[in-house]
């Protein structure tokens, strides 16, 4: 394997996961929370693909593609919720939306 070893890729994956976790915890706009969730999922994907290359096995790449489909589903439902909240004239702030009553 030319270039950096698998551990370097795992370091990038861990940093991406930490960055996304920070965004999920400190941001209040639900759109940016969704974007940070995408970063966390991509960190996991990078680790899966690095381990797939390390083991010479295809299961990690298959799992990464399944994670991609789950992320697309999550964005579909999450953006549907954001649009629904916006249409009910509620404020887009995850701290203000602390009750499940409409």
């Amino acid at each position: 394997m030319l270039g950096p070893g698998v551990a370097w890729y795992l370091g990038i994956a861990a940093f991406l996961f930490g960055t996304g976790a920070t965004g999920v915890l400190i941001r209040r706009n639900p759109l940016i929370v969704l974007l940070s969730l995408e970063i966390m999922l991509n960190g996991g994907n990078l680790a899966l693909i690095a381990f797939a290359r390390h083991a010479g096995n295809g299961a990690g790449q298959i799992f990464a593609l399944a994670v991609m489909a789950v992320a697309a589903s999550e964005v579909c439902v999450g953006l549907g919720l954001v649009v629904a909240i916006h249409r009910r004239r509620l404020t887009l702030d995850v701290d203000a939306l602390s009750e499940l009553r409409g």
Partner: protein, 185 residues
């Protein structure tokens, strides 16, 4: 031959450093921009540099799917919704760091350190030598054969998950329309 191999290794290192730096910088930019529109644009850069890293790990099909599905479809949907809702400015860093911000950054940093320590302790020696892979590793034909033989159940369950998500999106949209009419009436 050895000279050519070492030159190729240096080139891979250069591409890795550039893509990794772009990846980390755009990830931090997504979290720290106050305008969600700029955050979404930074996430497109993050996804593109991740696709370069996937190519370095000889995952060609996943890199292409990343660019098509994420940077193509998902981010267009994100940008459309941000334009529909309207860019609401948020200043997360105004007024000094709150206890919530400090706690969140500490928690994320401890997750990062924990992952690094776990990797170093449990797999440090074994990660240095990777398996040799042959040419069809990661190509679309190879992935397709795996999907339709060994991982057929995962493939079918993924399609059901996507179907349920599409139904959920439609239901959320139709309920929101009725609710909006009730609010205006």
């Amino acid at each position: 031959m050895i000279v050519a191999a070492s030159a190729g290794g240096v080139l891979v290192w250069i591409v890795w450093v550039a893509a990794g730096f772009a990846c980390l910088a755009s990830g931090l930019a997504v979290v720290s921009f106050s305008n969600p529109f700029y955050s979404a644009l930074a996430l497109i850069g993050n996804l593109g540099s991740l696709a370069v890293l996937y190519l370095l790990l000889s995952a060609e099909f996943v890199a292409a799917a990343q660019v098509l599905v994420y940077a193509g479809a998902v981010m267009v949907m994100f940008l459309f919704v941000i334009a529909y809702v309207g860019p609401r400015q948020e200043t997360p860093w105004a007024g000094g760091p709150s206890w919530q911000t400090v706690g969140a950054i500490l928690a994320a940093a401890s997750i990062f350190v924990e992952i690094i320590v776990a990797i170093g302790l449990k797999a440090g020696g074994r990660l240095s030598h990777s398996e040799h892979v042959n040419a069809p590793f990661g190509t679309p034909g190879w992935i397709g054969r795996l999907f339709l033989t060994d991982h057929l159940l995962a493939f079918e369950i993924t399609s059901i998950v996507l179907l349920i998500a599409a139904v959920g999106g439609v239901i959320l949209g139709s309920h929101a329309r009725r609710g909006g009419e009730e609010v205006t009436n």
